[in-house]
């Protein structure tokens, strides 16, 4: 659709498995200038939240998809025109605001609309209208110009909002085959073919039933949703008195799905051990100044625990393993995930430190600081959150002393670290007598998948981890 020097902004592909994204915020408004690569909007996908840089320089002419909408990867979001040009008037042909929404609503399965597009909080009151407005085309259209549409073609058409009648068919009698429709979508036929019929700006025939000409169609069903989730009951869309409704973010949906799936997959068992952190505390005090002055890095307790965990994992490959089908995967590397809470409680993300076994304490401390800050600034790339083999979660910052985290699938275990507290502790004095001392104690948990890791193995893992932390020898880790 770009003409001249116009540039389309499209929903980027944020990782191979991500098929859609939600616009959380437009950082520029129509009429504002924007530089190449300047942050233009913020999006949220089920993997990461991130800023989208501008694909061109000029003036933001038009926003096609408002905040809060969820759209497929590749959907046009906005148009940027050359500097000095005026924002496109509503009736100017190039932008074609009305037809842009295209016939997608015809093929959006009718049920998802009430799902997560409740009428009230929607900024564009017109948005809910289109889906229920055209029930007839939904039933009629998949006949694809009177030719037979096979079940798989009908399904793909509905998932991608494509009219099979628009797809050139190569099957028997010109029928559209699965291969035809996939090639059509691959070639980008999804948006363009649909917009093409009405470039003049005249309302497309379908909008007649929705005279408000709502620009964005209701989000098409997320491809996975109808297949993996039980259909939500249709009624509870309305809020009762005193209740507030808000749409679930893509990240929240992703977390919800992953947590449920993890509990349905792994046999979660948690074991805990108390660790006397005296050695770590004293070494950390010594290193802190040096690390901060020389490298600007804080050697956190988490970094110490991560370093000791990685060494312990080497002796317990199943804890760093995975059940894949009927086989057990073990590895000679550790991709260590860290659960990071996003600012304002908006979610949780698990960035991964790759090949953590090759990093010393400094490298780990630096790596944790890097991924954690990029997570909070929404600068993570999809690869930063994939491929973890073991995860550490650290909810102890709030003083909790115990927890039972959920395993990040398909990993076999997750380590939880909790508050460091001074406690009366029975130790031996130099004569070998029991005495009570004040010691900094941390409770550390291992939550493991009992399908792969047995309790005794988990116990030995925790015992060895404790031994490493209690007898920390930093010289073993230098260089």
């Amino acid at each position: 659709m770009a003409t001249g020097t116009q540039v389309d902004v499209v929903m980027p592909q944020m990782g191979v498995s991500v098929s859609e994204g939600t616009i959380t915020k437009w950082l520029k408004q129509p009429g504002e200038s924007v530089a190449l690569d300047e942050p233009l909007l913020e999006i949220s996908t089920d993997k990461v939240d991130t800023e989208v840089p501008s694909p061109g320089a000029g003036v933001l002419h038009e926003i096609l998809v408002p905040e809060g909408e969820t759209v497929d990867v590749g959907t046009r979001l906005a148009v940027i025109g050359p500097e000095g040009s005026a924002p496109v008037a509503a009736d100017e042909p190039v932008a074609a605001p009305e037809p842009a929404p295209e016939p997608a609503p015809h093929y959006a399965p009718p049920e998802p609309a009430p799902h997560y597009a409740p009428p009230e909080p929607q900024p564009e009151p017109a948005a809910p209208a289109p889906a229920p407005a055209d029930p007839a085309p939904v039933a009629a259209a998949p006949s694809g110009n009177g030719k037979f549409v096979s079940p798989v073609v009908a399904r793909i058409a509905s998932e991608h909002g494509v009219d099979p009648g628009q797809v050139p068919g190569t099957g028997a009698g010109g029928r559209v085959t699965k291969r035809d429709i996939l090639a059509f979508i691959e070639a980008g036929g999804h948006g363009t073919a649909a917009a093409a019929p009405a470039p003049s700006g005249e309302p497309a025939p379908t909008t007649a039933q929705a005279p408000t000409a709502a620009p964005p169609p209701p989000p098409p069903a997320p491809p996975s949703a109808p297949r993996t989730e039980p259909q939500a009951p249709p009624e509870p869309t309305a809020a009762a008195e005193g209740e507030m409704l808000e749409p679930m973010s893509a990240m929240r949906r992703g977390i919800a799905e992953h947590m449920r799936r993890s509990l349905d997959t792994s046999a979660h068992v948690t074991s805990a051990i108390e660790v006397d952190m005296s050695s770590v505390v004293s070494i950390r005090e010594k290193l802190k100044k040096e690390y901060q002055e020389a490298y600007g890095v804080n050697p956190t307790y988490l970094a110490f625990i991560a370093r000791a965990t990685i060494d312990t994992l080497r002796d317990y490959p199943y804890v760093n393993g995975e059940i894949r089908g009927e086989q057990i995967v073990t590895r000679n590397f550790v991709n260590l995930g860290f659960a990071v809470e996003l600012a304002d409680g908006k979610g949780l993300i698990v960035p991964v430190l790759r090949n953590a076994e090759s990093l010393n304490l400094l490298g780990i401390a630096r790596g944790i600081a890097d991924v954690a800050s990029r997570a909070r600034e929404k600068k993570l790339l999809p690869d930063d959150v994939q491929g973890g083999t073991f995860t550490i979660t650290n909810p102890g910052g709030y003083g909790t002393f115990h927890g039972t985290p959920v395993i990040s699938q398909p990993q076999a275990a997750i380590l939880g670290t909790y508050a460091l507290v001074k406690r009366p502790w029975v130790v031996k004095d130099e004569l070998g007598n029991d005495v009570i001392a004040i010691r900094p104690i941390m409770n550390i948990t291992l939550t493991y998948d009992h399908r792969l890791v047995d309790g005794a193995l988990a116990g030995r893992f925790l015992r060895d981890l404790r031994a490493r932390l209690e007898s920390w020898d930093e010289s073993a880790y230098q260089g």
Partner: protein
């Protein structure tokens, strides 16, 4: 790794189990002195003696009934039906007694019944049948149909190890015609797991037994037209590997189910129905079946050729699907 014929692989697997486990014995018509009608047990009586390689009278009821009793007393009998066609005489012992024993009394019946089956050599109506679908309808039995020498050995050992009555359909037309690498050591092939004989994206072909080779030749022809056929060798029909079949269907969206047995109520019907039920939204063409017509197997070579699905028949069905 030695190259063995399909028949040698069966013989090898059986001999190995008899050497390893004294509870294993064989019984059947002419299995002893004569070494079996097809020579699977040639030399067995010399090695293991007449008490472990027993020549039985022409009485399949007695053979299977005796095996069931021996299994209940702790033995691991391997019976041979001289031709799978004769198993109908043992139907009552297999279906009424052996298959239901565990359900009724909680006791295991670890018997194996070897069933030389299939046509292609003008054996006529009594010596050419593929009766697997009749038994695949009987809960309590297991039915395996190996196609390769390696699977023939591995599935036979699994069948002997299995605590249930297992019907082992060995295809006569493969006996000396098919050779393949067979590991010398003892190994098992799991019952109920399919094998992808050939990978492809365009059409799935689900089959088993000798039809795997017919399918393979047809797939070679289609390959020249640029159509990639995926052949799923089911290996077991009860239990059958539904997930492997559905996975292939989801990939290709077009399916041909092929078997040598007759059409109506053949096991292909079960597979086609399951695909329709569980993968409907993945289908891009009707699920097709290719099988023998609903008649007894003819004697006449030309009629038998018309009866058993041939490479050309399979290629034609695959082309129809590819062009659909």
């Amino acid at each position: 790794m030695a190259e063995l014929t399909y028949l040698q692989a069966i013989s090898d697997g059986l001999r190995g189990e008899m050497r390893r486990d004294h509870r294993v014995f064989v019984i059947g018509e002419d299995v002893g002195v004569y070494g079996g009608a097809f020579k699977v047990t040639l030399g067995f009586q010399e090695e293991f003696g007449p008490w472990r390689v027993i020549d039985a009278p022409l009485a399949e009821t007695a053979i299977v009934g005796g095996c069931t009793g021996a299994a209940l007393m702790g033995m691991r009998p391997v019976a041979e039906m001289q031709f799978s066609d004769f198993v109908s005489c043992a139907w009552d012992q297999l279906v009424t007694v052996a298959a239901k024993q565990h359900y009724r009394a909680g006791t295991a019946v670890p018997i194996v019944v070897r069933l030389p089956s299939g046509g292609g050599f003008s054996g006529g109506p009594f010596h050419s049948q593929n009766p697997e679908s009749s038994f695949a309808h009987v809960p309590g039995l297991k039915c395996v149909c190996p196609a390769t020498p390696a699977d023939a050995k591995g599935l036979l050992i699994s069948a002997i190890e299995d605590p249930n009555p297992v019907l082992y359909f060995e295809h006569k037309h493969l006996y000396r015609r098919i050779k393949g690498d067979v590991p010398e050591e003892r190994y098992t092939v799991p019952i109920g797991k399919a094998r992808i004989h050939r990978e492809g994206d365009d059409v799935s072909l689900i089959t088993w037994g000798a039809m795997v080779y017919t399918a393979s030749e047809a797939a070679d022809q289609l390959e020249q037209d640029g159509v990639a056929v995926e052949i799923v060798d089911l290996r077991s029909v009860l239990p059958w590997d539904k997930s492997a079949v559905l996975e292939s269907v989801r990939k290709t969206s077009k399916v041909l189910v092929l078997h040598e047995d007759t059409h109506t109520g053949g096991f292909g019907a079960e597979i086609a129905a399951t695909i329709g039920e569980e993968a409907f939204e993945d289908l891009d063409a009707p699920v097709k079946r290719l099988s023998a017509p609903d008649t007894p197997v003819p004697f006449s070579p030309s009629l038998e050729k018309a009866f058993i699905p041939q490479v050309e028949d399979v290629a034609r069905s695959l082309r129809e699907l590819a062009e659909y």
